[in-house]
């Protein structure tokens, strides 16, 4: 494994992990709000959340670039007030991956939350739990399979994210060049196929480990929650 390969692998892992964790709280909030509530503007939020799924990633990258770029309306404000920049940095790669992973995570969580027997929450409420308490102590743990699913999906999608990342943060080895970008670069050379294949293997390996871990957790989870005969 060359230094560049190692860098890409490690960076991908970091970006995917960070993006997944960063998106999780937002995804949870959205899943709950979309799955349970009825409020004005819900349809709009729903479409917004899902846009990254529906539009080509390049468009999302471009949208991020013009909002979070240092010349962008949000980016400038963030830079001037907090000194944070996103473009062309690790942070940006995380942002791009998180945005792309968000709709998948929201859906997984939402599906789980909607499947929960609300009678159990009612029981918790009658035992003295406030709405928030019941959410945290009943809904959330019971949504664990969805949470796991969301984490796997988020991690996998972040791992594979390409279009938005390259458009938003460019393709600088060691800084923003994740595995997919490295693979892209390798494929640009006519004799890069061997390298590309090697990088693909790393990706697959990472996926294998992540999926294996998810599978293992899931089995434990199922054993833990039990199933009637």
């Amino acid at each position: 494994m060359t230094e560049v390969e190692r860098q890409a692998l490690w960076l991908s892992f970091q970006v995917a992990s960070a993006a997944t964790l960063a998106a999780l709280p937002l995804a949870l909030g959205l899943a709950f709000a979309l799955g349970r509530g009825r409020w004005p503007g819900k349809a709009l939020v729903e479409v917004l959340v899902n846009l990254p799924l529906v539009l080509p990633p390049v468009v999302i990258g471009y949208a991020l670039l013009i909002s979070f770029g240092r010349q962008g309306w949000l980016g400038r404000w963030l830079y001037e007030t907090l000194g944070i920049t996103f473009v062309f940095s690790f942070r940006g790669a995380v942002l791009a991956a998180a945005v792309m992973a968000l709709p998948l995570m929201v859906r997984a969580l939402r599906q789980s939350i909607e499947a929960i027997d609300r009678g159990l929450e009612a029981a918790a409420r009658s035992l003295g739990a406030s709405r928030l308490d019941a959410f945290l102590s009943v809904t959330l743990p019971l949504a664990a399979p969805g949470l796991l699913s969301a984490l796997v999906l988020g991690f996998a999608a972040s791992l594979g994210e390409f279009g938005a990342t390259i458009t938003f943060v460019s393709n600088v080895p060691g800084q923003t060049q994740t595995l997919p970008l490295a693979i892209y670069s390798a494929l640009q050379s006519p004799d890069g196929e061997a390298l590309a294949l090697r990088l693909v293997m790393y990706s697959a390996l990472l996926a294998f480990v992540a999926l294996g871990f998810a599978q293992w957790s899931h089995r434990r989870l199922q054993r833990w929650l039990g199933q009637s005969t």
């Binding site: 009678g119 159990l120 009612a122 029981a123 918790a124 409420r125 009658s126 035992l127 003295g128 739990a129 406030s130 709405r131 308490d133 019941a134 102590s137 009943v138 743990p141 019971l142 664990a144 833990w224 929650l225 039990g226 199933q227 009637s228």
Partner: protein
């Protein structure tokens, strides 16, 4: 802590209407045929179903009042609900289920402790298990324990003992009967088992076709044989009121004076002079013209006040033990119509009601005001 309930509640196409009180002291039984609306009333009282209109109040403070726009959220009502369908939290151990409400109760709320409840319910070996690893009856016991431990201000129990074995049921009934006085805790208790009503209830509310069809002191209501079709043929009976006059510790028997006559019953733990209630089912009472030597150690003289023909071959005969037909001094006997004729029973005639000591369920009421 009186629980007042007055509500109109849409349930599918039906509208459930209920208006009654659960008095501070004692158990109020809510009975009625399947689908009558009992569970709906409990859920609405607990704040889990929203009534169309009406009012629910605990000790005069509204928990729900449609007119005044009050609707306390379920957790603020602090009513301990035992659901008909259990509803244990599947992701928590039995212990954690039991303590779920307890840790959320206000510090100063009082109620039984974990050890006491665990011992009562016999669920010590199950504490570390998860709900899916329990049998049906074990689940039901945990659900009862969970509600008891949540230190509620009133208990709403929906057929809590339906799948428990007789010995456990017997034990739990005794425990539940003592709760209201012990913790100032009114209990609204849904059941289809008339023996539970007989043992537990001071007040009975009978629902029929989504409405309250009758209500009153258990005393009066259970004596009303006309309600038989709704509560089952053999279970109706009467409640006598009296005072303990003798304790036969050797025999484990108590003697209670009712309307000037002595009734022998299985030992009631109460001091001499204590007021007690005796529940006697109509089917357990035989009638005769005179006092006879028999193991039916109770033979009370009285006057036939009413004879109600029931579906053949049955007839119900009301016997007043004292001067008037006061509740608490009347017995009902369920006999065959032929016996009515062969004994020559008729209103105004004297008669002797005989029943065995073992047929009597006695309970001290002295703790009540």
């Amino acid at each position: 802590m009186t629980l007042e309930i007055d509500l109109q509640l849409a349930r599918g196409e039906a509208v459930v209407q209920a208006r009654f009180e659960v008095p501070a002291h004692g158990v109020t039984a809510l009975v009625g045929r399947s689908g009558a609306g009992k569970s709906s009333v409990l859920l609405a009282a607990a704040g889990l179903l929203r009534p169309r209109s009406g009012r629910v109040a605990l000790n005069g403070t509204a928990l729900f009042d449609a007119a005044r726009g009050i609707d306390l959220p379920p957790h603020a009502r602090r009513l301990g609900l035992v659901f008909q369908d259990g509803r244990l939290l599947p992701h928590r151990s039995v212990r954690a289920n039991l303590l779920y409400g307890a840790v959320r109760a206000p510090r100063d709320a009082s109620g039984p402790e974990l050890d006491e409840v665990v011992a009562l319910l016999g669920i010590e070996p199950l504490l570390g298990r998860r709900p899916f690893q329990l049998s049906g009856g074990e689940r039901q016991r945990v659900a009862i324990g969970r509600a008891l431990l949540s230190r509620p201000r009133a208990l709403l129990m929906d057929e809590p003992l339906a799948s428990l074995d007789p010995p456990r049921r017997h034990e739990l009934l005794g425990y539940l009967a003592a709760l209201p006085a012990r913790w100032q805790l009114p209990i609204l208790y849904v059941t289809h088992q008339m023996d539970e009503v007989l043992r537990l209830a001071d007040h009975v509310v009978l629902m029929s076709e989504h409405k309250v069809a009758a209500q009153g002191p258990a005393l009066a209501l259970l004596s009303d044989l006309s309600l038989g079709p709704l509560v089952g043929r053999f279970e109706a009976g009467a409640v006598l009121e009296g005072r303990v006059v003798e304790q036969l510790a050797d025999w484990q028997l108590s003697v209670v004076q009712v309307a000037g006559q002595a009734v022998t019953v299985p030992m009631i733990e109460a001091p001499l002079g204590a007021a007690v209630r005796l529940r006697i089912r109509a089917r357990d009472v035989a009638l005769q013209r005179a006092v006879l030597p028999s193991s039916a150690s109770n033979q009370l003289s009285g006057t036939v006040t009413r004879i109600v023909e029931r579906e053949a071959p049955y007839a119900a005969v009301e016997i007043a033990l004292g001067a008037a037909t006061a509740p608490g001094e009347c017995l009902w006997a369920l006999v065959t119509r032929r016996s009515v004729q062969s004994l020559g029973l008729a209103p105004g005639q004297p008669a002797v009601a005989s029943f065995k000591a073992v047929a009597v369920e006695g309970r001290a009421t002295s703790l009540r005001p």
